[in-house]
Amino acid sequence: AQSVAQPEDQVNVAEGNPLTVKCTYSVSGNPYLFWYVQYPNRGLQFLLKYITGDNLVKGSYGFEAEFNKSQTSFHLKKPSALVSDSALYFCAVQAAGNKLTFGGGTRVLVKP
């Protein structure tokens, strides 16, 4: 069975500093990986995905993620965080039946 782990419940970072949100996965076969962001009282917004190809994926709002097959990781990164990046971030893996399995979520707090 597939699974996703986000080891940090919360990440605190100062505005302008680099932001990293960690994600590791376990899945049989080739992984299809996703990152979503959720703002308060909102649905999930798509940030980026990895299907195949280049291990560095660039997405929305300046975010990028690096797929590392040997470490089974797909960490989300942003070179310079903004206060408006404060939100709940989810990593997800697409499994059999086209179903998404989500990690537990990581709350990001960017302080001015």
Binding site: Y36, L44, K99, G103
Partner: protein, 112 residues
């Protein structure tokens, strides 16, 4: 990418009653999904809504409690039946498109 309109956005319901949540997609999609999310927590898949056939439910969820309709390729409903306070949660629908997965804005349900 597809846009999903989900309603109601929130409701407060009496225990023992039922609530039907609607999701309308602005384009035809093959697969739709229903999730439950406690505020600030991860998403749990309830079922996959199949057009023209019965929904496929995940372990722990049953059709009598969460009946789902999928009359066409752009619309689905989830009913939360015979509600109890334990059903208080956020319910989200999702659709799989050629670009990935898009989500409705969620329905915040409180059962009193």
């Amino acid at each position: 990418s597809a846009v999903i309109s989900q309603k109601p956005s929130r409701d407060i319901c009496q225990r023992g009653t039922s609530l039907t949540i609607q999701c309308q997609v602005d384009s035809q999609v093959t697969m739709m999904f229903w999730y439950r999310q406690q505020p600030g927590q991860s998403l749990t898949l309830i079922a996959t809504a199949n057009q023209g056939s019965e929904a496929t439910y995940e372990s722990g969820f049953v059709i009598d409690k969460f009946p789902i309709s999928r009359p066409n390729l752009t619309f689905s409903t989830l009913t939360v039946s015979n509600m109890s306070p334990e059903d208080s949660s956020i319910y989200l629908c999702s659709a799989k498109t050629e670009y990935g997965y898009t989500f409705g804005s969620g329905t915040r349900l409180t059962v009193v």
